[in-house]
Amino acid sequence: MKSFTEHTGVVAPMDRANVDTDLIIPKQFLKSIKRTGFGPNLFDELRYLDKGEPGRDNSTRPINPEFPLNFARYKGASILLARENFGCGSSREHAPWALEEFGIRAVIAPSYADIFYNNCFKNGLLPIVLDEKIVSSLFKSMYDQVGYKITIDLQQQSVIANGEKFAFEIDEFRKHCLLNGFDDISLTLQEAEKIKIYEQQRRTEKPWLFGAVKA
């Protein structure tokens, strides 16, 4: 996994509440058996004027000129500014995969849906929670200044914008994994003995939980 330490980037808006993962990456693209290739179809139904299909050449499709991510001023954006309950709905990890591949390294919003929030950390993408009022002020600054940039310092847990520092909360373990780009399976397997002991005890106490399913 890509590590995340400090990042400065252009900010782009996704200015609506309850952005669901169907909107982030529509279902027809979920038929892929790969982890990559979703970037060109991020926000497909908003980004293009026609209907996207897997395998199509996206470079020849009509672009929606009214969708902010298509504006020249947000080109190369790596920080997405969003509203409450971002990433609600389906558990599809294709949503953070698509954001990451598009070039987004961090999302800033007042709140996230739990599964999406969790999925981001598995993919080197940092979802930052800031107070709704601060998020609104960042939206205003972003709309006012072309090429508006924000700096994120994960070690310090701060967002630096407009010369001010805004602190954000993050779980220690997630921070540790993200700073180092750690894959958490290998970390969990370091505790394999504990898992085996627990399992053995359960097999004795509650054997019905281990009844094998049969073909």
């Binding site: 038929k31 790969k34 389906s90 999925n119």
Partner: protein
């Protein structure tokens, strides 16, 4: 020990290790797998040279991509016309065969939607921790289990370690007392709850559904309610174990038998919140006041009783919310103030992990019996949740009632709930749907979804527009 909630008990029982930062290593008893969110996890496992920790804890079945017409299903996986869908279903078959995972393949009589198959086979049991790479895994909580959806990286993590790294959620009790009126179903109850607390109302919580209404509700109704806990933002929903739970589980293929059964039941009886357990949040709703519900917008919280009127964004003071209403009205092609009963329906979908069990099929059949689909409804499909549901319905002759009413009787799968197969809405079409999400484009590009109960969907198929099933 201090008083604990049902969620506290399920959680405590599965903690393998507690970490200093508040996260825990939680043991997973059952892992359900489908074709869409698993291929990258199996690939990751293979690339790292890892094997499943406990292959016999996994049950797999393809559901999202499978075609639902008898014709396309006739020759199994090879008959899937969409080449990309075919590869995905085949990949699941190959992965399961290679790793010795039990899979109910496309034309196995036990195949079906993961969240229907889990409970009905007894693969999902009270007291278990259950995960699946699918947000609607909350469904199984109805059994008195801790069940939640995970992402693909976590699917790989559970395959490799039988555990998940999780932080304990907060406790919420949604208490619905009173008696439901005639024609008011589990679906209406959960839609009313979401309308009340919003789609982010349950974020960060595990919800226990308690109160007289859930105690009186059938197991299938409880599965419907827990299924949509995620639409209220809660990863997990659950209902305490009682006689209804025990009776439901008894005799299912993978349920314990003989002496094991009695031991298990004694244990399961304890799966309820202590009388003095403390919840972080309690929401109380009067069940007697709930009417049949219809969603009008593009989020499940945009829902109204059948006698309601589409809202006016100009009366909403919160600008983000007003913008949301405006965008939804525009997408849905509705006008502020329009009566819900004036919304015409182009297609009807009865199915999905929310409402495709035998009681749902019976409720829909009862409404359409002896009637005909309205001429303006282009298509109305009934998609049973599993091979077992289909068989049961056919034994009861329900399929004949649908066919006589000009509704289509299909093969089991997720179908038009998310339109990954050929079942989808056309641009601008309105659908009375028993599924769980009315997001933009969910049921097809430009499609307009209205979430309703099976009886309400069936009534809309006959009337051609939304009607109050209580007066039908």
């Amino acid at each position: 020990m201090s008083a604990r909630t049902l969620y506290d008990k399920l959680w405590d029982d599965h903690v393998v290790a507690q970490r200093d930062d508040g996260s825990s290593l939680l043991y997973i008893d059952r892992h359900i797998v489908h074709e869409v969110t698993s291929p990258q996890a199996f690939e990751g496992l293979r690339l790292a040279g890892r094997k499943p920790w406990r292959a016999d804890s996994v049950i797999a079945t393809p559901d999202h991509n499978v075609p639902t017409t008898a014709k396309e299903r006739a020759s199994g996986v090879e008959g899937i016309e969409d080449p990309i869908s075919k590869i995905q279903v085949k990949t699941l078959d190959d992965n399961c065969d290679e790793l010795g995972i039990v899979e109910f393949k496309i034309n196995d009589p036990r195949q079906g939607i993961v969240h229907v198959v889990g409970p009905e086979t007894g693969g999902c049991l009270p007291g278990m921790t259950i995960v699946c790479g699918d947000s609607h895994t909350s469904t199984n909580g109805a059994l008195g289990a801790l069940s939640f959806g995970i992402g693909t990286s976590e699917v790989e993590h559970v395959l490799a370690t039988q555990c998940i790294i999780a932080k304990k959620m907060k406790n919420m009790l949604v208490k619905v007392d009173g008696t439901l009126g005639e024609g008011v179903t589990a679906k209406d109850v959960v839609l009313a709850i979401i309308g009340e607390i919003g789609t982010a109302g349950g974020t960060g919580y595990a919800i226990e559904f308690g109160g007289e209404v859930f105690r009186a509700m059938s197991m299938e109704g409880r599965l419907t309610v827990c299924n949509m806990a995620i639409e209220a933002g809660a990863r997990a929903g659950m209902v305490a174990v009682d006689d209804i739970t025990i009776e439901y589980v008894n005799g299912r293929s993978f349920a314990p038998k003989g002496e094991q059964w009695h031991k298990a039941v004694d244990n399961w009886r304890k799966l309820q919140s202590d009388a003095d357990a403390v919840f972080d949040r309690i929401v109380e709703i009067d069940g007697s006041s709930i009417k049949p519900q219809v969603s009008w917008g593009t989020s499940p919280e945009m829902v109204l009783p059948i006698d309601g009127f589409v809202p006016d964004p100009n009366t909403e003071k919160d600008q983000v919310k007003a913008g949301g209403i405006r965008r939804a009205l525009d997408y849905m092609g509705l006008a502020a103030g329009q009566a819900i009963t004036d919304i015409k329906v182009d297609r009807v979908f009865i199915g999905s992990c929310t409402n495709s069990r035998i009681e749902d099929i019976r409720a829909a059949a009862q409404i359409v019996k002896g009637r005909k689909k309205a001429a303006n409804v282009k298509e109305a499909i009934v998609v049973p949740g599993s091979g077992a549901v289909k068989k049961q319905a056919e034994e009861e002759g329900l399929h004949k009632i649908f066919i006589a009413a000009d509704l289509e009787w299909r093969e089991p799968g997720c179908s038009m709930c998310l339109a990954m197969n050929a079942d989808k809405l056309g641009d601008g079409e309105h659908c009375a749907s028993t599924s769980n999400r009315n997001f933009e484009g969910r049921q097809g590009y430009g499609g307009r979804t209205h979430l309703v109960s099976p009886a309400m969907a069936a009534a809309a198929a006959i009337a051609g527009h939304f009607v109050d099933v209580r007066e039908f």
